[in-house]
Structure formats: C-alpha cells, structure tokens
C-alpha cells in the first residue's frame, strides 16, 4: 500500500529535520503560568518553594506536539496515495503496454495515466506517450500535459501483443535534453523481452514500472475443441498464484448468450478448462466464445464456418463387414469426419429422418423407391450428397450422380494393366479443393470412369495426373451432388490413408452450410478481405481502413498485427477467423526485471493532505485541552463545556448551507429551461458532461429557437429533478450505487414525463453486452422500473424530430441506441412516415459517449477527438439536437406529419 505513496512537493519533507529542534524548543519552554494580581507582593519576594513545577512539559505532551508538527510537514508535502509517478523535473515518458493483455483492466491504465499527467502538470513539463502496440511505428512526441491528456484519452488497447523492443528502440533513438522520468505501464507479462526492455529504459532515464497484481493479470482463451457434446475450452493465465474462478460464455452473432460454463484455476496451475455443453444446432449458431468480464481480444475466440459441426449421415451398402474394420469404408469415413461432424450411421431413411445436412453414401449402387424421391428433395432443399464408388456401382448405378458413368471400371497397375497406378493432379481453380497440397504418395489403382462429354471438365473437382476425373460434382437444386470415383476405403486407392482425404471431406462439409464451392477453397494467392475485426476489448467492429486483406497462404500462420488484427476474413458464409491467441500461447508474469513493480491501484489516487491536516487539527485541540488542564483551568470545566458542545452541535448544521444551495439551484432551474446532467461523483466524467452540454447548448442556440442557459449538474440524492426535461447520465464503473431515495426519485421523474439519456460510454450495445459501462448500468439501474426497450426503429420520431438521422454516433460509432418499445404499428392504418408513442420515452440508452463529442472548451473549441472526425462530430451534434427536440416537443412532430391531411379535411 505504501509502495504507491507519493508526494506532490517532496522537498518539503526536508522540514522533518527541524523536528529535533522543535523538540528542544518545546522542552525548554515551560507552560505559561497563571497570572494573579496580589497586593502583598512584597511579602512574597524572596520566597523559595520547596518544590517547583517541573519546568519541562511532560514527555507525552511533547510527543503529541512533535507528532502534530510532523503531520503538518507531511501534509504540506502533499502526500498522494496511489496514482502515478512522482513528479520530477525532466520530461515524463509514459511507456504504455497497450496490447490486448492490458484491455481487461484498461480503466486502471487510464487512471494511472491521468494521475501521472495530473502530477506532472507543472509549468511546461513535457510529456511523451509511447504505446508499445502502436498501429504505426511509434513516434516520440513531447507534448504539454493538456495535449497529452487528450492524446491519452484517445489511447485504446490494440488487439495484438505489444512490441516493446521496437518501442524502446524508438525511445532510445529520440533525444531528451535531460534524462526523462519513464513510467512503464506494463501489462504485467513477460514475453521474454521484459528484462531487456527494463534495462533499455533504465539507460534512457529514471524508470518506474507499474504492473497488475497477480490476481488481475489477463486471461487468454486458447483454441477450443469442438467435441461431440460441446466446446472444450482451455483458459490460460499468467502465474499460478492462488485460485481464481470465472465463466466462459458462448455467444451468438447478436451477442446473445447461448451457454455458460464455470472454470476454476487450482492454486499452482496456469491452465483451467471448461466444457460448454451445447446441442449441435446452438453450437453452430455460436459466433464466438468469450471469458465473462474479461474484455480483451485475447479472451475472445472467433469461430468461423469451418468450426461448425455438421450432422452427417453415413450409409453403406455392406453393413456386414464390421468384423474387419480396416477393410470397411465406413471405418475410414468415421475416422475422417468424427472430429468435425456429428455422425449418424444407418440407412438412407434414417439419415434423412435425422435432418442431417450431408449424407455420405459408400458404394451404394442404387437408391431405391421412396428413398430416391426423398433424396432428390433433400438435394433440392440444399443438402449435400457425397457418394463413393465401389464394386456395386460398377455394375449398376442410378441417376443421382453428377456425370454419366461408363459401366465397368478401370484398373491401373494390375498384372494385366498397361498403366501404373496414377497420382493426383493439382486441383483446378474452380474446385473447392484448390490450395490443398497434393501428396506424392497417393496413388489410385482403380476407379469408375465418367462418360466423356463437353461439360465433364466443368464438373470435375479433382482429376488424376492423366486427366481422368477423380471427383466430379454437380449442383442439384440448392444442394450439391458429389461423386468420388474411388471407394471410401483403401481398396481402390491410398487416398483414404492420406491427410488429403480428411481435408477434402472437411471442405465438402462446408458446402453443407450453404457455401459456394468457389469460396470454400483457397490457395496461396487467394485474397481474403477483412469482414469484421476485433478491437482490443474484444468487440467486433467494422474493419478499420488500414487493415490489409490476408493472403491464403497466411491464414494458418498469420500472427495478429496492426495490418492483420484478429477478426473474420474472407467472404460471408465461408469466412475464416484469425484469433488473437493461438494454441501455443503462454502467459508468463513479469519476474525480476531489476526494477520494483508498483501495482495499479484500482482506486483513484487519494489526496491525503486534508486527512492529515484534520488529524493534526484534532491533536492540536487535544493538546489545547491538556494544556488547559495542566494550568488548572479545567477546575471550572463546566463553564467551557457548554459553548464547546454548542460548537460541536453546530458543526453538523453545515448541511443547511447545502440545502440553501439546493434551493438556489431549484430557483435557477425553474426560471429557465436548462439541460442537466447527473453528477456521478467522478471528476473527469462530470467535467466532460458539463463541457458536453455546454457545447450542445451552443449548437442548439445557433440552430434552433431554443436557447438553453448554462447546464447544471444534479445530484440524484438531493436535487429536485422535475425542472429538467432532459437529464444526461454518463455511466462510469466508479459510480456509487444509487440510494433508495434516488431510485424513487428517478422512477417518479421517468413516470412523470422526464427523459433520461443514459450513456454507457463504452460503445456497447445490446442487452447481452458486457462492457464496463453496461455492467455499471446494470448495477445502477437494475432496481429501477425501466419499461420494455427496443433499438430505435427506423420510423421512430427520434430520427426525425429535427434532422433526419440514420444512426446516432457520438465519440464512438456503431453502438445501438435503445428506447421504450413502441406499441406495434396498426396494420390497417396508413403507413405513417414517423411514429412515436403518446409519451416521450422515459429513457434513451446508448453507449456512444456523446458528451465527449459535444464537449467544447471555454473558447468554443472541441475538447475530445472523435473517432470519425468532423463528419461524425456533426452527426453527434445532430443527434443531440434531435434528442433535445424530442424531449421538449414530445409527439408534436409525429402529429405534424398529419398536418396536410388535417388541412385538407378542414378545407372540405
């Protein structure tokens, strides 16, 4: 705890050396005597008392006074508990690990940066911020603390790992006039470069290292195994200290939670496992797995189409061969497919009954009777039928085959054959197998032959070195019909013994998900454009503009980086996932790096000065009472007690002043219509709210007829809310819970027609989100009677109350905005261009951090950077105008839509 104690002006502590002097002075100065007027003074002259009062003050009183003096000196030095670096004179360099490993506790970093900058905000002290996971080559720019603060607000964790070596090298290359103070805000992990980095930084300047406490080190979600009954996940942590528990979630594409499984790290272990049990249908809807409450890209596994499990029906004509499994076709198919699919063995009818998406027929010559009709329907509905040739097929075959076959087969390498067994040719470009490596040792010794025709080439997905088709395929309805011209077992070829067999079958399984064959395969030259990428917090977003497409050759080996952040690449339906964590990811905590590591304190820096001064004051009071007692004044203590008690009783009367302030605020609020924000008690958030509403007020004044006066902050506990049509409420995890009184007030306010604009400021959306703001929101208003919500429908009046708006960006873009669900539209009524309820929605919830986008400083200049630049800021302002208009005018705009109709009716 004391490790994080720092002093604002530490030189004052030098004053502690005068304490012995004070001790000596106090010792030689006896307490002042009582003065008494006494006429026979002459008679007293020359008397000697037999015993004098000790001229020395008692030692415990001396000690008390010394403590008071020490407390005052320490308090003047401005002790700060927690927080960032101690101020020095040189430049301040913040060396920030901003990989995904920092994202789970990013608020700690922000607090530490803010504290360090606040402490550093001496006159003209330059500050540089060096992120180790920069998207560009980091540049060391010295800024003043104000600009650094803005830059720090824009700093976000990136979804890849930090490259400390590069950042340290850049820092070493830049020139400082005096050795800088370096604060390394580490992620607490060692990638093998930690001590080298620490050494390099120590050479540049004075190094302070901050790291997470062991219990808060990041977790990583290793690649999952898609097993028969669910996902088996493995979670890695850094260091094995203590137990730790948590949950793993399976999330659908809209963020809905499909399953939850707990995991627990045993003490001393750095790996835990959890099994998410899910039925197959739900498993295939799973878009990602995530560790609950661990908002980082490393705690998210994206699942692409190849991870989906298909239900596959296996049908073989010869069921009686199970006593010789190595000769059975089914055995090889089962071994190849079972890791990737749920297999159902049986007859064709059984497989169709089980609603499979892929059916594999091994050496079935004819599909007979009703099975045939059902099979045709299965294909036209989108099913995939994979047939393997065999002895039966050479004799008689039905018409459910992609190409016409010759009767009889072809032997290669037999005693009477003229040709040796054939190898495979490389796969054609149109084939889903393209890009798969062709092993040299796969030979085909027997096959069924296709009747040559013009379109045969187009139907061929694989052929032998001499050009004869090995795999042919043809679409049937929405489905695909695929024929392997060899057996599923090793009787005709060595293909089933090779890995290629498995890969080919996996590609074909993808067709069962509706993918186009051209998209399923890729070769080294295929370009996979980014579809959606993760940010550092593990949220999917539109890929930033500087993300490069992946090459097919890279998809297996690519490491996440600035040009290839983790995410989905490829084409919708057959996308490939690039994840932040791969199977051999090891997390190692920072060991001994030659510098002490201070822990981030989750609490904000606490200024101890007022407390120390208060203690000193109390001790002084005690000292005064003791002195009075020593001088004998307390004999008539009763006379002192009364005024003393009166003073003590008056002190709690101080809230009277506050209530006086409250009534002032009520008067001001009642005289003018003002915008209001909730005072969260978190300083920077409140400042931003005030600046934001001030900025919005300026825009409103310039663009509308409404001229709001200066915005006011309201305290939900104390202030009357009824005067405000709209209250902006930013949500911050540091906010305290609402008191029951505040909850009642809020409910009344919402019921009586007020509107609260809640801003979680974390860009999240949706009910299942787990952003820090969302969690705080749930904690804060969980007990509140909130009406049913829906995302803003396209025809809602909020989109049209002043400007016509498509979406509602703030500082961020993309978060969904929710408000009270409208009653369903009346299907009989004419289509109305705008809908709103009879009332204004009591609550509007979003997470785009609007206040930051609106915020202006005293000179009217924007304070915060907006992700999308001026264009997005303009849209944010328009949203603000719309919200205010919506709150002020209610359903007036909706009614106005009917104005032409009403006028027409009046004219008639």
């Amino acid at each position: 705890m004391f490790a994080s104690l720092s002093f604002a002006t530490s030189w004052i502590l030098a004053g502690l050396v005068v304490l012995p002097l004070i001790w000596w002075l106090l010792r030689v100065t006896p307490p002042a005597p009582r003065r008494v007027a006494f006429p026979p003074l002459r008679l007293l002259h020359g008397l000697r008392a037999t015993e004098q009062t000790p001229a020395h003050t008692p030692w415990w009183l001396l000690l008390l006074r010394i403590i008071v003096a020490a407390l005052i000196i320490v308090a003047l030095a401005g002790p700060i508990l927690g927080g960032g670096a101690s101020p020095g004179s040189g430049p301040l360099v913040l060396f920030v690990d901003n990989g995904w490993t920092s994202a789970h506790a990013w608020a700690d970093r922000q607090t530490a940066i803010t504290d360090a900058l606040t402490n550093a905000s001496g006159p003209g002290r330059p500050v540089a911020i060096v992120p180790t996971a920069a998207d560009r080559a980091p540049a060391v720019t010295l800024m003043d603390s104000g600009k650094a603060m803005r830059s720090a607000r824009g700093l976000v964790p990136e979804p890849w790992l930090p490259d400390r070596k590069k950042a340290a090298a850049v820092l070493a290359a830049s020139h400082f006039s005096t050795p800088p103070d370096i604060v390394w805000l580490s992620d607490g992990l060692d990638y093998g470069d930690a001590s080298a980095t620490a050494r390099a930084l120590s050479r540049i300047g004075h190094l302070n290292v901050m790291g997470d406490t062991v219990g808060r080190l990041p977790l990583a979600l290793r690649p999952e195994r898609n097993e028969v009954d669910g996902f088996a996940t493995s979670i890695a942590r850094a260091g094995g200290m203590g137990g730790r528990r948590g949950n793993v979630l399976a999330l659908g594409s809209r963020g809905e939670i499909l399953a939850t499984a707990p995991f627990r790290f045993a003490a001393g272990h750095d790996t835990a496992s959890a099994k998410l049990r899910l039925p197959l249908e739900l498993r295939n809807q799973t878009q990602r797995l995530a560790i609950a409450n661990e908002d980082s890209a490393g705690a998210v596994r994206l699942l692409d189409a190849s991870a989906k499990r298909r239900a596959v029906g296996l049908v073989s004509a010869s069921n009686a061969q199970s006593e010789q499994p190595l000769l059975s076709d089914i055995y090889y198919l089962e071994r190849a497919l079972s890791p990737y699919a749920d297999l159902h063995k049986g007859t064709i009818g059984d497989a169709l009954d089980r609603n499979v998406s892929v059916i594999v027929l091994a050496d079935v010559g004819r599909i007979a009777g009703s099975d045939r009709d059902r099979m045709v329907k299965f294909l036209s509905d989108g099913g995939v039928l994979i047939r393997f040739a065999g002895g039966r097929m050479t004799e008689a075959v039905d018409d459910i085959i992609p190409v016409k076959l010759r009767t009889g087969g072809r032997y290669l390498g037999g005693a009477l054959a003229w040709a040796s067994p054939q190898r495979l040719a490389s796969f054609p470009d149109a084939s889903p197998f393209r890009g798969l490596a062709v092993p040299r040792d796969v030979t085909i010794s027997r096959q069924v032959l296709a009747e040559p025709s013009v379109e045969l080439g187009g139907h061929t997905w694989a052929r032998l070195a001499d050009g004869t088709p090995l795999v042919t395929a043809a679409p049937r309805g929405k489905g695909w019909l695929i024929l392997f011209h060899v057996t599923a077992g090793p009787a005709w070829s060595s293909l089933p013994l090779s890995g290629l067999y498995v890969d080919m079958l996996r590609r074909l399984l993808l067709l069962g998900g509706g993918a186009h064959p051209g998209d399923v395969g890729f070769n080294s030259a295929t370009v996979l454009p980014p579809l959606a990428t993760l940010d550092g917090f593990g949220r999917l977003q539109k890929p930033p503009a500087d993300v490069l497409p992946l090459r097919g050759a890279q998809i297996v080996s690519a490491k996440p980086s600035a040009s290839h952040p983790p995410g989905f690449y490829g084409i919708q339906g057959s996308e490939r996932a690039l994840n932040a964590v791969d199977a051999d990811m090891q997390l190692k905590p920072l060991g001994d790096i030659g510098a002490p590591i201070r822990a981030y304190s989750s609490a904000a820096a606490m200024d101890l000065q007022p407390w120390l001064l208060a203690i000193a004051l109390l001790l002084l009071l005690a000292d005064g009472i003791v002195s009075l007692w020593l001088r004998g004044y307390l004999a008539n203590a009763r006379r002192w007690l009364v005024p003393g008690t009166a003073v003590l009783l008056l002190l709690p009367g101080a809230p009277d002043f506050l209530s006086a302030r409250a009534s002032d605020l009520d008067r001001e609020a009642a005289l003018d219509t003002r915008l209001a924000y909730v005072i969260t008690g978190v300083g920077d958030v409140d400042q931003m709210s005030k600046a934001g509403l001030t900025g919005l007020g300026l825009y409103l004044k310039a663009r509308t007829s409404y001229d709001p006066k200066e915005p006011v902050g309201v305290d939900l506990d104390r202030d009357e809310l009824a005067f405000f049509p709209l209250i902006y409420w930013p949500i911050d995890p540091r906010e305290r819970d609402l008191s029951p009184r505040a909850l009642v007030k809020l409910s009344d306010y919402m019921r009586n027609g007020g509107t609260i604009l809640i801003d979680t400021r974390d860009q999240s959306s949706g009910a299942g989100g787990n952003g820090p703001g969302q969690q705080a929101l749930r904690r804060l208003i969980g007990k509140l009677d909130v009406p049913p919500l829906q995302p803003v429908p396209p025809d809602h009046v909020l989109r049209k109350s002043f400007y016509l708006l498509q979406d509602f960006p703030g500082r961020w873009d993309g978060g969904k905005v929710w408000l009270e669900a409208l009653p369903p539209p009346d299907p009989d009524a004419r289509v109305s261009p705008a809908r709103g309820g009879d009332n204004v929605s009591p609550v509007i919830i979003g997470g785009n951090d609007w206040a930051a986008a609106w915020a202006v400083d005293a000179s009217g200049q924007p304070i915060a950077d907006v992700a999308g630049g001026d264009q997005q800021r303009e849209l944010a302002v328009r949203f603000g105008v719309n919200v205010v208009m919506y709150a002020l005018t209610g359903n007036y705009k909706t009614d106005q839509v009917h104005a032409p109709a009403l006028l027409e009716r009046m004219g008639r």
Partner: protein, 252 residues
C-alpha cells in the same frame, strides 16, 4: 464635654450662633463665646487609606478593603456623632464636625475623595488630644509606618490602627504555576507551584501583622485586625469600645 466654665473668647465666624453667650456679649460691643473645659480637645480623626492596594478584592471577599474601611469609618462616625462627639477627616483641613448634619458631609467627602497616592496619613494639623483612627492594610514598608506613627504621636495624638485584611492575603489559596504581580510594580513573583510557598508566606504575613501591632502598642495605640470576609459589626464594636476606653483613660 466639660461642664465647668473655662473662658470667654471673641466670637469667630465659624462658631455656631448657639454658642454665643448673649449675656456676656450684651455687656460690651463684641460678641463672646463661652468656652467650657476640654471642649476643643476631644475629636476623633479618621484616616482611611484609599491607595491602590486597598482597592483589591479577591474572589473570596465580597467587598474591597477600601470599601470595608469606608463602612467602618462611617459606622463609627455615626455612633460617635450620636454620642455628641466630634468627628473629622485627617488631611481634609476642616475642623471637626458635630451634630446630625455631620454624617452626610463626612460620607460625601469620603466618597469624593480621590484614591490617594500614598497609603500613609498626611502631615496635616489636627487638634490637640485628638484620637486618630487609621484604617489601612499596612502594606507600606515598616519604616514608613513607624515614621508616620511617631510623627502622629509626637503631635500629641494617640489612636487605633485597624488592619483591613483580604482573606486571600491571609489564607493564600493559590495553587499551580502562578505568577504574582501588582500594578505599577515592575517585578513579579513566579512560583512553579504556589501551594508550596503557602506556609512560608503565611508566616511572613502574620509576622508583618505582629510588627505593626508591636509598633502601635509601643506608642500606646491599639491594634485591631479585621478580615473583609468577617462581619464588620464585630470590628465596629471593638473599635467603639476602644475609643470609649481611651477617652475615659484621658479624662480619668
């Protein structure tokens, strides 16, 4: 006081008209006053010390020493005047007063009297055979008191010393670290614990009282100590009988 004839003398303007012997005056051009034996000799002269130390009142007392001295002086005057005696204030230059009107005048003069600088009686004329009542706390140096007493005695007076004592002065009830000081006296006395000097102080104080008493007896004066927290009646009674006794001694 006397009844037998002593002499006629010419009337002076300050003589009351009732003192004129009209029979004798009718025999000549002038007015004559008949004087009787001892008549001018007996008067009681008061000296009430009103110096700064006399203005002291400790929390234990209800009245200042000066106040108590004034009360005693007035009460005694009242008793004497009722008995037909004459009363005067030393240092005020007036001849002794008598009669009913005298008491208010004495009170008026006493009330108006400014706080004297000096605690000792002034070198003022008084009639022969005067009795002097000296009310004071006798805190002046012993030599000064002795000189004043000698002077008064040599002028033919004798009388009574009334030692007015504040209870705090005698009992010394102080405790703890205390600095004793008095107006106009530059030095002060500091005691770490006042209670430890109480005994030696009281010895000194009693010795001081005895010193004054001894001085008085040697010259034939009486000495009476009076604490301001005691009832003044006792002191008054003792004083009155002392004055009566002295008068008897002289006439007898």
């Amino acid at each position: 006081m006397g009844e037998s004839f002593w002499q006629f003398r010419r009337y002076a303007s300050e003589d009351p008209a009732s003192a004129i012997d009209w029979r004798q005056s009718a025999k000549s051009q002038h007015l004559f006053v008949r004087e009787r034996e001892w008549e001018a000799a007996q008067a009681v002269w008061f000296w009430r010390d009103a110096s700064a130390t006399m203005q002291y009142k400790s929390p234990l007392a209800e009245i200042t020493k000066c106040g108590r001295a004034t009360v005693l002086a007035l009460a005694l005057s009242s008793l004497l005047l009722r008995g037909g005696e004459r009363v005067a204030l030393l240092g005020r230059g007036e001849r002794p007063w008598s009669g009913r009107t005298a008491l208010p005048r004495i009170a008026e003069v006493m009330a108006e009297a400014p706080a004297q600088e000096t605690a000792l009686p002034p070198d003022a004329p008084f009639g022969r055979n005067a009795q002097i009542v000296w009310l004071s706390d006798f805190l002046s140096p012993r030599a000064d008191i002795e000189a004043a007493l000698n002077r008064l005695s040599s002028a033919g007076a004798c009388g009574h010393l009334v030692h007015i004592i504040d209870p705090a002065e005698e009992d010394f009830p102080f405790e703890g670290r205390t600095r004793f000081e008095w107006l106009g006296q530059s030095q002060s006395e500091l005691f770490g614990r006042a209670e430890f000097v109480r005994e030696s102080y009281r010895e000194r104080f009693i010795a001081h009282g005895e010193e004054v008493s001894t001085l008085a007896r040697r010259l034939g004066w009486t000495y009476l100590a009076h604490r301001t927290d005691n009832r003044p009646a006792l002191a008054l009674l003792a004083l009155y009988s002392a004055i009566g006794g002295e008068a008897e001694r002289r006439t007898g």
